[in-house]
């Protein structure tokens, strides 16, 4: 087998689907709780006992519709949600037996809908109103789906070539194959939603234009690139952006450049884990995650940590990069400094403090930055929205920004921290923002 084929195998979905018999057994194990804690633990409030009951009665169409009704990106979420912290973590069977495999059952039902090309929803009767959505990620798609069902003419502006946002470009294929996200996009397009791809608001379309031409605008632009480390040597060949690295594996033939190389990842969040496992699967000989705090402070999920370890990723705590070393214009090594934990910061996490004189050098071929993402500050300001450090301020419950016509959802309003910025949260925001827009436009007096 040639190497690219070998690598492609590494990028096939890792977690196998439930077998039909497994799904039926598992569905029948669900207690069908009343006022079930799993529903409350789901940010989009999927009626989980109900969709599982429908699997048990052979009503897979109804099951998929129940899931997608509450969560327009429910097929992706079946794969990427940290279920042990959400629905499965809340399952009452945790204390008596083992929790129901809710994520996998959700995948079973949505896979059925994908395979059977089921049309789950239809668009509402046109109400003559127009809404523009900036960004076709989970929040934007979710809002578009809801608004289309309510009869709005919806146009989504998407900077990239394809819609789906993070689900299409930013989550590794072996966790979330691109076709799943694209199916969700098709479901939204089938309702008459126009998605203008390769169209960046602020460059190709002016914000003022949207404000003039549409009754409401939803800003769901997500986040940008990984920020600078602000250390010498950062611009050398071999210093990569984690988001861009993952995106390349989802849009181009798999590169063989990392074969046998030494890779370090700076940061220990969700994207760092994706970048690390991705590098390993691209054939890197050694992959290390470098983090300036300790295992307790990492913002990745426990299952991600376990997954990375099983993929052979190594972790090095309490170190921070200080300089990228060069040879022939590309990365040769990385100078690190040891850290210790000091007083807690404003979020309560202990602040890492440099230990003077503890610098040392490691040999590396690639340095992958995964220390968060920049915010779309200029876009936010172009709309004239109030924000705090690039986090758009919205009214609680309605997602309305300081601009009366503009709403915001998804990553543009997330304030950081451990439990937010999940796909499922973005989907929920989009859905709720759509209903708030509907409420507001419906209540608006018709012009005389």
């Amino acid at each position: 087998m040639s190497i690219p084929n070998e690598l492609a195998k590494n990028f096939a979905e890792v977690v196998p689907a439930l077998k039909p018999m497994e799904a039926i057994h598992e569905a029948n194990r669900c207690l069908y709780c009343y006022d079930a804690p799993c529903i409350k633990a789901c940010p989009t409030s999927i009626d989980i006992p109900s969709f599982i009951k429908k699997i048990a009665t052979g009503n897979l169409f109804g099951s998929a519709r129940t899931i997608m009704e509450s969560n327009p990106v429910g097929a992706s979420c079946a794969r990427v949600c940290p279920t042990e912290e959400l629905c499965e973590g809340a399952c009452v069977l945790n204390s008596a037996s083992k929790p129901i495999m809710i994520g996998l059952l959700q995948r079973h039902a949505t896979d059925w809908a994908i395979q059977n090309q089921a049309t789950l929803f239809s668009k509402g009767e046109a109400n003559g109103k127009r809404v523009a959505i900036v960004g076709a990620g989970p929040a934007g798609l979710s809002a578009a789906r809801e608004l289309a069902r309510l009869g709005y003419a919806v146009t989504v502006f998407e900077a990239k070539e394809k819609a789906g946002g993070l689900n299409t470009y930013g989550i590794v294929s072996f966790r979330l194959p691109q076709e799943i996200s694209l199916w969700e996009v098709e479901q939204v397009e089938a309702l008459g939603v126009e998605i203008r791809t390769n169209t960046r608001v602020g460059e190709d379309v002016a914000p003022e234009e949207l404000l003039e031409q549409y009754d409401s605008v939803l800003l769901a632009a997500g986040m940008g690139k990984v920020p600078q480390l602000h250390i010498p040597g950062e611009d050398l060949e071999g210093v990569l952006d984690a988001i861009a690295l993952v995106e390349e594996t989802k849009t181009k033939p798999l590169s063989e450049e990392m074969l046998g190389k030494k890779v370090v990842i700076i940061g220990a969040g969700n994207t760092a884990i994706d970048a690390a496992t991705c590098s390993k699967r691209l054939g890197a000989e050694n992959v290390q995650i470098l983090y300036r705090r300790t295992v307790q402070e990492m913002s990745c999920y426990q299952f991600e940590y376990e997954f990375a370890k099983q993929d052979g990723v190594e972790f090095r705590w309490l170190v921070a990069p200080t300089r990228v070393l060069e040879e022939n214009g590309r990365v040769k090594g990385l100078e690190l400094v040891r850290m210790e934990l000091g007083e807690p910061d404003e979020k309560g996490r202990k602040r890492p403090v440099e230990i003077p004189g503890s610098h040392f050098v490691i040999e590396v071929d690639y340095v992958v930055k995964a220390i968060g993402q920049n915010r779309h500050l200029s876009l936010i300001e172009a709309f004239g929205l109030q924000h705090r450090n690039g986090i758009v301020e919205v009214e609680e419950g309605t997602y309305r920004t300081s601009h009366v016509k503009v709403y915001a959802a998804g990553d543009v309003i997330f304030g950081g921290g451990k439990t937010d910025a999940m796909v499922v949260d973005a989907a929920n925001h989009g859905k709720r923002a759509a209903h708030a827009i509907h409420q507001s436009l419906r209540d608006q007096k018709q012009p005389v």
């Binding site: 018999m21 069908y32 109900s50 009951k53 429908k54 048990a56 009665t57 052979g58 009503n59 109804g62």
Partner: protein, 425 residues
């Protein structure tokens, strides 16, 4: 979307899912909650002279880790005065005029008693009446319920009395605690009933406590037989419905009852001649909300087949149900094992070897070093046992072996022999 509304002997209902007369329909509060959840109709818990109940009334039968495969009860009819029930029924009907409200009735064997109660309940605007000739416990000891349902003459007499005054359709609910339910169904029909409903519960003792040596449930150290229902009784109920549906001497619509837990069960009853179904145990196990998937699943089932109305499937399989003597002796199916999904549990082999016709061999496969399960089709009698015990759905398929012989039933064969002909199988 398919039309789920039904018409049972003139009784209209928005969908075929009714709650059966039982604890779930004991009060206006409950029935109104049920209608809000989506139930198309409800048969109010049986009205009559208020009774006194015992405590410790229900028991469940668990099987293989699943709860409530069967269920029994020794609760009697309503324990509230008739006026209280009528007031709540009236409120319920006013709040839900389009939903179907049926009054279940049980009084002593007196013409005046039947006349009086029928007039009272019809005065508040019920959509129909259901005469409870089925309850097997307690009331039967007082000459009512199944004590009536076991005597064709009593059934006919009481139905006649009711029909003398009734303005709304009369459904007769029958007991299964009888040798052949068609005989009581026929007398109900002869008495003028507009429809029959079946089955009521089956006499049962749910269990015995191994430590205390007491019946389950017991009341202060003594137990009495209760009425058995739930998923386990479905095949018994389905047979009785089908037998009555194909009996021309019965000839009136049927409301199907007995172990119906989901939309699939409902479709089976409808295909076998029920115009609607009544549910109790599944609601008692999970709450009224189960009706959502019943409606959704039935709608999707009809839509996916392009069937416009649920009434279009009522009775569509009745003509396929017959007597053994009409079955084709020349039809042959054999078991075929799909090795690609076989998990080699060998349960088909041992079931066949020990308890059927010894035709599934365990054959070592030299090429793989594994064992294969192979059916000797020439010895297979097509009993289905292996496919029943096989844990992996679809792995053992019963395949038809085309016959070059014309179809021949036992009855045809005996007739041919009697006529002096020869008859080869």
């Amino acid at each position: 979307m398919a039309d789920l509304s039904i018409n049972l002997a003139g009784i209209q209902s928005p969908n075929p899912f009714w709650l059966a007369s039982a604890p779930p329909t004991n009060s206006g509060y409950q029935v109104q909650r049920a209608f809000e959840a989506g139930w198309g109709g409800a048969v109010w818990k049986t009205l009559g002279e208020p009774i006194i109940n015992v405590t410790s009334r229900f028991a469940g039968l668990n099987f293989g880790g699943q709860r409530v495969f069967g269920f029994n009860n020794i609760e009697l009819i309503t324990d509230k005065p008739l006026e209280v029930n009528l007031k709540e029924m009236d409120e319920t009907k006013r709040r839900f005029p389009k939903h179907t409200l049926i009054a279940s009735l049980m009084v002593e064997h007196k013409q005046e008693a039947w006349h009086e109660i029928v007039k009272k309940v019809e005065a508040i605007g019920v959509d129909g009446l259901e005469l409870n000739f089925g309850c097997p416990h307690g009331m039967a000891e007082r000459g009512m319920g199944s004590a009536v349902g076991q005597h064709p003459d009593l059934i006919r007499q009481q139905v006649e009395w009711v029909k003398e005054v009734a303005q709304t359709p009369v459904i007769v609910k029958l007991t299964p605690n009888i040798t052949d339910i068609r005989f009581t169904a026929r007398t109900a029909s002869q008495g003028g009933a507009d429809a029959i409903s079946m089955i009521n519960t089956i006499n049962s003792l749910m269990g015995v406590d191994l430590d205390k040596w007491l019946p389950i449930p017991h009341v202060d150290g003594k137990g009495a037989h209760g009425g058995y229902c739930g998923p386990a009784v479905k095949p018994i109920a389905l047979n009785m419905v089908a037998e009555c549906a194909r009996d021309p001497k019965v000839g009136i619509p049927i409301s199907g009852i007995g172990g119906i837990s989901d939309w699939r069960d409902a479709v089976e009853f409808l295909l076998m001649g029920a115009t609607g179904v009544q549910v109790c145990t599944a609601a008692m196990h999970h709450g009224f909300r189960i009706v959502e998937d019943m409606i959704d699943g039935l709608t999707n089932y009809l839509d996916q087949r392009g069937i416009a109305s649920v009434m279009d499937i009522v009775g569509k399989a009745v003509h396929t149900y017959s007597d053994w003597g009409h079955l084709n002796l020349n039809y042959k199916v054999v078991a075929r094992i799909h090795e690609e999904t076989c998990i080699n549990c060998n349960k088909c082999h041992i079931a066949c070897e020990d308890t059927s016709h010894q035709c599934i061999d365990i054959v070592p496969d030299a090429a793989t070093g594994k064992e294969r399960l192979v059916v000797r089709e020439e010895d297979c009698v097509g009993c289905n046992l292996c496919s029943i015990v096989c844990p992996v759905e679809g792995t053992i398929e019963m395949v038809e072996i085309p016959s070059d012989k014309a179809p021949l039933s036992w009855n045809q064969r005996q007739a041919a022999l009697a006529a002096g002909g020869s008859c080869e199988l």
